[in-house]
Amino acid sequence: MSEFLNENPDILEENQLPTRKEDNAKDLLLGGFSDETTLKRRRLLLKIDHSPGSQVLQDIELLDKLLSIRTPPELTSDEDSLQEESEEKYIEVQKNEEEKADLIDSQEIYDSIAHISDPEHPLSLGQLSVVNLEDIEVHDSGNQDEMGEVVIRITPTITHCSLATLIGLGIRVRLERSLPPRFRITILLKKGTHDSENQVNKQLNDKERVAAACENEQLLGVVSKMLVTCK
């Protein structure tokens, strides 16, 4: 690894990576408020003053709190008598939440793998365009009982990149740790980007070989180092 194979790849700045733009504000606004206007107002506020600690926002939160304090608290001491009602409510709550469920999409996959470090450059896979948002496919119905699939096509920085398998392994380890088990993960080289495309593809998706690689302490150490920069 001492000798860089590709010294001068094109590099994206960290802030040029594709992101989920509209959600920036949402992350700052936690908490389950059911009221749409509240949420909308808060989003507006964050647009003019981008900090969750601003006084206006605090005042608005205070107002919401004072207005909601009257909602009678739910008691569970007497579970039996309340069972029926609470279950009904729970279903309702669930329904409510189901509407707001965030599905796993390609941006989410991208976010979790784009920050993996390249094994030979001090840069991330996203910055080197090894992984690209448009090369990630997600097939998922959102149904917990159905299989989902993620297909990722990676672009090595040069066609004879000897580390393509290592990069693929890193991505696979990251995704296996971060996706629910119902997902099948397929990692391929983008067509025409590598000299031994078929061989590498085979190796990347061979369960036995991946499992064997993960038994290797040293290899796992290298992978861990790649994953340190994940955000």
Binding site: N15, D23, D27, L30, G31, G32, K40, R41, L44, L45, K47, I48, D49, H50, S54, Q55, V56, Q58, D59, I60, L62, L63, K65, L66, L67, I69, R70, P72, P73, E74, L75, T76, S77, D78, S86, K89, Y90, V93, E97, E98, K100, A101, D102, I104, E108, D111, S112, Q144, R177, S178, L179, P180, P181, R182, Q218, G221, V222, S224, K225, C230
Partner: protein, 1031 residues
């Protein structure tokens, strides 16, 4: 003092020496005092010690001599006569042969040397003795220190205040030789500091240094570059830096060292270690500074060649560094902080100006040589950055040099180009010359009464520079972020340059910035422009107001979905404009005031349009933030507030009372009422009484509002205004008002709109806090009525007392705690406990204001400690689960608002409750318990480690989506799991590794992305637990 007393003092001294040194010291002082009072003579002491001096026992001899030396050291310098000095001196001289006593003898000499009546003969003998008979290598560091001290005393006594030139001449050479002898091979840092200091004293004060310069230099330079790591408990507190600086000062003390210093230092410059290099460069810098022009005359070529190499090799300070608008100004004069390249440049700069002042002809040669060597770089575009750095560094030396450099360099590279890469380089390189302008002529300041900037060559290129920069900013494509940002940064720098730009040019730049900030979404450019506008506002606030702010304000449309156009850009959002206004007006008086007035006027128009709730909300929030952000820095003064009151209050009151987009929107109504609060808070207290009467008439007694007759939303502005006015105002109707309010709440309570109700309750709070006397408030409380409305009424009124730390409040808190055990109302009261400690923004403690309400800073702490123990005890004694739950709920809601440092002392009692609270059927209680647990985890590692076996399973149950595990609960539980690995020892964590990694698998399918994200992070930490890092 009798001989007996003397003897006993001596015995005491010797007995206590090295055992109780303070006691030994005491008895030495006693003896010295008798000597000073002439009741005994020093010689008598010697005689009294005689027995001991002759003892066979080495230790006894040492102690005896120490005794004499100690007494001698305490004796005033002019006390001993010439004769006495001589006798004592000879006595010590005779003892020098006793090899066991060297240290003590030296101590004695060190005490004798500064004596007034010691003769030059004796000093000569002393120096000889040291030179011939003292072997520095055979002694410990503490002994070796003494000769240095002696020399220093001699130096101070004879050389510093030359008493007789004849005398000094006699010992001059001997002194230097002796110094060289004792300094040779020294290794102890403390001694070295003295050695360096003496060396410096010698080279700068003594004669004949010329003859010894090589030796004197060698005894210094053999230590270079000095490194020293202080031991842990170093009593002398000598740092590496002290030694470095002392050595550097000594090396640069005399121009006699010039030859040796330059050749040796340049030799060291080839070192690979950056630290050594830095030390070398800083020393070189000092040399150039101190040795002056004549030294550079002969050496500039070798210096230049070495430095050129250094600078050209150097590649730090990449463009990212320059792109950051927050990089601090580089007028950093602290010499120890120069980086290597900065130091190189500084040396080149000094060389230039020293030569220039010393000999213009040689300077000419110097500059021509450099220009000839560097000019080809422009042609081949090689090392341009470094080249410009060098040239601008030389240029900042003097006006004439500056002009020379500019006129020979600018024609070489200042040509407009459409090639982005070239343009970027061009702008980057310009910045170095701007810096050199600032170095030479200074920065612009508000009071520009200082000397004006003379004509200079850079001014001739001004138009061209402005043209290139504005082209770069306005004509390059949006994606050229770097070029555009650079151009903004250079514009900003030009603004800072004293007397460089005219008002018109500044106006033009303001206009560019305003347009760019509006139309560009890139964060870097946004902040660069913002920084630029702020910088300009410091000097040209009026210009910024006229050109930028007015434009921004005028852009605001009357309708929310109207298109805003700037140049060819459409779709500029109202939010963007408001954000810019908020961001750049901060702490600028005119800008803030004018923005508030204009926005309020705009609000008045917008509010009259239907469906403008959102737009109004934005405007109101902006006005509110303008007030709030500029609260503490005293930007808005009393007279401004009065102006604002007259200008906008009527407009605001009008829309509050008449427009439904304001009145019927909770947020708009509350925030706008808070704006009224700020206006009144800022006005002079003299008008408060008048205002109070006015508002009372308007809202209560006259007109058609009458908020006390029937529920009315306008209670909210009334309450906010009331909280702003000073508490000493006369409020004659206060008792009627409070009674009527309670009455109103009791009658209409359940039917009121929530917002109205909160308003009336807040009125009760304000009244009980600052207008109605405590006893009256207590009388009004009806503890029998357990209706929810009455409970609320009582809680809010009690809050008024709690906030002023009233002595009655703890008693009343007990009442409420009793209610918690009531199965019917307990759970509701538990919820109400949060009211006691929740912060109402209009009743917050505001810095510098204590006249508007009675809020004590520590009221929460007092309240918490009032209720804590009772709640915990009650919790433990009760068996009813529902009631237990009430106690916990109340406690955790109060905890939520209590600063965590106040909770610390209670944590051991609290902890078990916290864990149980995690099981409570209420998500808010769980969140609050988790938050407290997070603080606890941070501060009480042992506590967490002890309970890890309980905590982990609990947390694992909280991360799953269940009824009371809302997003917040799940998220914090996951964060807490992650945090545990940082505070709990690894061997404890490892036990749970598998449980947690597996237990979190279902969470990977959580509905909320933010929860999944945290889950991935948490799992990752556990995957890597205990893994040996790969290197």
């Amino acid at each position: 003092m009798t001989p007996d007393q003397l003897n006993s003092a001596i015995v005491t001294f010797m007995a206590n020496l090295n055992i109780d040194d303070s006691k030994a010291n005491e008895s030495a002082t006693v003896v010295t005092e008798s000597i000073v009072h002439r009741s005994i003579k020093l010689l008598e002491v010697v005689v009294a010690l005689k027995e001991h001096f002759l003892s066979e026992n080495e230790i006894e001899r040492k102690k005896a001599l120490t005794c004499l030396s100690t007494i001698l050291a305490k004796t005033p310098k002019d006390h001993l006569s010439k004769n006495e000095c001589s006798v004592i001196f000879q006595f010590y001289q005779s003892k020098f042969e006793d090899s066991a006593l060297v240290k003590e003898v030296l101590e004695g000499f060190a005490a004798l040397a500064p004596m007034k009546f010691i003769s030059i003969n004796e000093i000569t003998q002393l120096l000889r003795l040291l030179l011939d008979n003292y072997q520095q290598g055979q002694h410990l560091a503490s002994t070796r220190l003494l000769p240095f001290k002696i020399l220093k005393e001699i130096f101070d006594r004879f050389f510093l205040n030359v008493s007789s030139i004849e005398q000094v001449k006699r010992i001059n050479d001997l002194f230097i030789e002796t110094f060289l002898h004792i300094a040779n091979g020294e290794k102890d840092p403390k001694n070295l500091l003295l050695s360096f200091e003496l060396n410096q004293s010698i080279t700068s004060n003594l004669q004949n240094v010329e003859n010894f310069k090589e030796d004197l230099f060698d005894v210094l330079f053999c230590y270079f570059p000095i490194t020293f790591k202080p031991p842990k408990h170093d009593p002398y507190k000598i740092s590496n830096q002290d030694l470095k600086t002392a050595l550097r000062t000594a090396i640069t003390a005399t121009p006699l060292f010039t030859e040796d210093a330059y050749s040796n230092l340049l030799d060291k410059l080839t070192a690979s270690s950056p630290v050594v290099k830095n030390d070398t460069l800083l020393t070189l810098l000092e040399c150039v500074r101190k040795f002056g022009g004549s030294s550079i005359l002969e050496n500039w070529k070798i210096l230049w060649n070495a430095l050129k190499f250094e600078i050209m090799q150097n590649n730090d300070g990449t463009e990212n560094n320059l792109l950051n608008p927050y990089v601090k100004d580089q007028s950093n004069d602290d010499i120890d902080q120069y980086t290597n390249s900065e130091a190189c440049l500084k040396i080149v700069n000094l060389m230039g100006s020293q030569l220039y002042n010393f000999d213009k002809f040689v300077f000419e040669k110097f500059i021509t040589h450099i220009l000839d060597e560097l000019k080809p770089n422009f042609k081949y575009e090689k090392d341009l950055k470094q080249t410009c750095q060098i040239l601008s560094a030389i240029g900042s030396g003097d006006l004439e040099i500056f002009n020379l450099i500019i006129s020979s360099v600018f024609p070489l590279f200042l040509t407009n180009t459409s090639e982005t890469a070239k343009l970027k380089l061009l702008i980057l390189n310009l910045s170095f010359f701007f810096n050199s302008y600032i170095d030479l002529f200074g920065k612009i300041s508000e009071s520009s009464a200082e000397r004006s900037v003379p004509n200079n060559k850079l001014a001739e290129y001004k138009d061209e520079i402005i043209m290139i920069l504005s082209m770069a900013l306005t004509s390059s494509s949006k994606s050229e972020v770097t070029v555009r940002t650079l151009s903004v940064i250079q514009f900003t720098k030009m603004i800072k340059m004293k007397d460089f730009l005219t008002q018109e040019e500044v106006s033009l730049i303001i206009q560019y910035f305003t347009e760019t900030i509006l139309t560009d979404n890139n964060k870097n450019i946004y902040y660069a422009c913002l920084e630029g506008l702020k910088t300009i506002s410091v000097i040209y606030e009026n210009l910024v107001f006229e050109i930028s702010l007015t434009k921004l304000l005028n852009l605001l449309p009357d309708y929310f979905d109207e298109n805003i156009r700037v140049n060819d850009e459409e779709n500029i959002q109202i939010e963007t404009i408001l954000k810019i206004i908020l961001d750049f007006t901060t702490s600028r008086h005119i800008l803030v005031k004018e923005s508030i007035i204009s926005l309020a006027t705009k609000l008045n128009t917008v509010a009259k349009v239907s469906k403008s709730k959102e737009y109004c909300f934005l405007l109101i929030s902006t006005i509110y933030s303008l007030f709030n952000n500029n609260q503490n820095n005293n930007v808005l003064k009393e007279e401004d507030a009065l102006g604002l009151k007259q200008a906008i209050e009527p407009k605001l009151t009008q829309i509050i009372t008449q427009e439904s987009v304001i009145r019927d929107d909770n947020y708009n109504l509350t925030l706008l009422s808070n704006v009224l609060f700020f206006i009144n808070l800022k006005t002079s207290q003299d008008v408060h009484q008048e205002e109070l009467d006015k508002y009372n008439k308007f809202f209560i007694s006259e007109g058609n509002v009458r908020i006390l007759e029937a529920p009315n939303l306008l209670i909210i502005p009334y309450v906010k205004v009331l909280s702003a006015l000073k508490k000493t105002c006369v409020f004659p109707q206060k008792s009627t008002v409070i009674v009527k309010t309670i009455h109103l709440l009791r009658i209409y309570g359940p039917k009121m709109i929530e917002t109205e109700k909160v308003g009336y309750l807040e009125l009760l709070l304000v009244l009980s806090n600052k207008f109605v006397p405590e006893e009256d408030v207590i009388k009004l409380l009806d503890w029998e009525d357990l209706s929810s409305t009455n409970l609320e009424v009582m809680v809010w009124m009690t809050k008024g007392l709690v906030m002023q730390n009233s002595p009655k409040s703890s008693e009343m808190a007990k009442h409420f705690i009793d209610f918690l055990s009531n199965e019917e109302i307990g759970s509701f009261v538990a919820k109400l406990f949060e009211i006691f400690v929740v912060d109402i923004s209009s009743l917050k403690k505001i810095k510098g204001i204590n006249w508007n309400n009675n809020v004590k800073i520590l009221y929460k702490q007092k309240f918490f400690s009032d209720i804590f123990q009772t709640l915990v005890d009650n919790y433990k004694t009760t068996v009813n689960m529902a009631v237990k739950c009430n106690y916990l709920t109340a406690l955790s809601l109060v905890l939520k608002h209590t600063p965590s440092q106040l909770v610390g002392p209670f944590i051991n009692d609290l902890f078990p409750l916290l864990l149980q609270a995690l099981d409570m059927p209420d998500s808010e209680v769980r969140v609050s318990a988790l938050e407290t647990l997070k603080d606890t985890t941070d501060k009480h590692h042992n506590l967490i480690t002890e309970h890890i076996s309980t905590i982990v399973p609990l947390l694992l149950s909280l991360v799953l989506p269940q009824k009371y595990n809302n997003v917040n609960v799940r998220l914090i539980a996951l964060q807490l799991l992650e945090m545990i690995t940082t505070v709990v020892p690894l061997n404890y964590c490892l036990t749970y590794q598998d449980d947690i990694v597996n237990g979190l698998v279902p969470v990977l399918s959580d509905k909320k992305r933010i929860v999944r994200k945290q889950c991935i992070d948490t799992r990752q930490v556990y995957f890597e637990l205990g893994q040996i890092p790969f290197e």
